[in-house]
Amino acid sequence: MQITVRLFASFREVVGRDQLQVDVAPETAVGDLLAALARDYPRLAAASKATRFAVNQEYVPASHPLQAGDEVVFIPPVAGGGDVRDHD
């Protein structure tokens, strides 16, 4: 089944595109989709542990099963760590 992955910030730069059409097996966990992508783009692997996931504009856990036509967004983690709360 086809799903859409939208990429932002560091993920967009690593992959070199802002959107991917991906063919995955039904019920694939969104976290497993990122793991598969990280095999193609090893630079994503380090970042993937702290990545949050959104499906159809709602946050979901890594175990969330994907459905045909879903729009997935990987929310990249903070680079460098530390306190990044800004203009407070």
Binding site: A9, A54, Q57, V73, D83, V84, H87, D88
Partner: protein
Amino acid sequence: MFAITTEPIDPRTVSAAVEDERAGGLVTFVGTVRDFSRGRAVTGLHYEAFPEMAEKKFREIADEMRQRWPICKVAMVHRIGDLQIGAIAVVIAVSTPHRAEAFAACEYAIDRLKSVAPIWKKEAYHDGEVWVADHA
């Protein structure tokens, strides 16, 4: 008014959007680009967002506020693109019947925006640049 924009934000416009005859207090928070971040001098900033989801989250945050305080009106606007030091990145305005509620609700709004809005920024320094999450 719940928006991601590439244009400079005029805080007066955002504030005017929440004027309300029922309100006795109107608080406007203006977030600007600081010249120093985590010990490094920042020379510029690039903001990026997932606009549709960010605007949806702004509306959800406003709903949360209405459940907690007697909100009259709320407005939230965040700018994306290249911003100079001192530029306005985000403006949140809240009006309520009494001032204490307006201060509390406005602080809640910026904290929640930082927590859930899919917005990122790339800080540029004299010797490089790095993506950081605008959300905490």
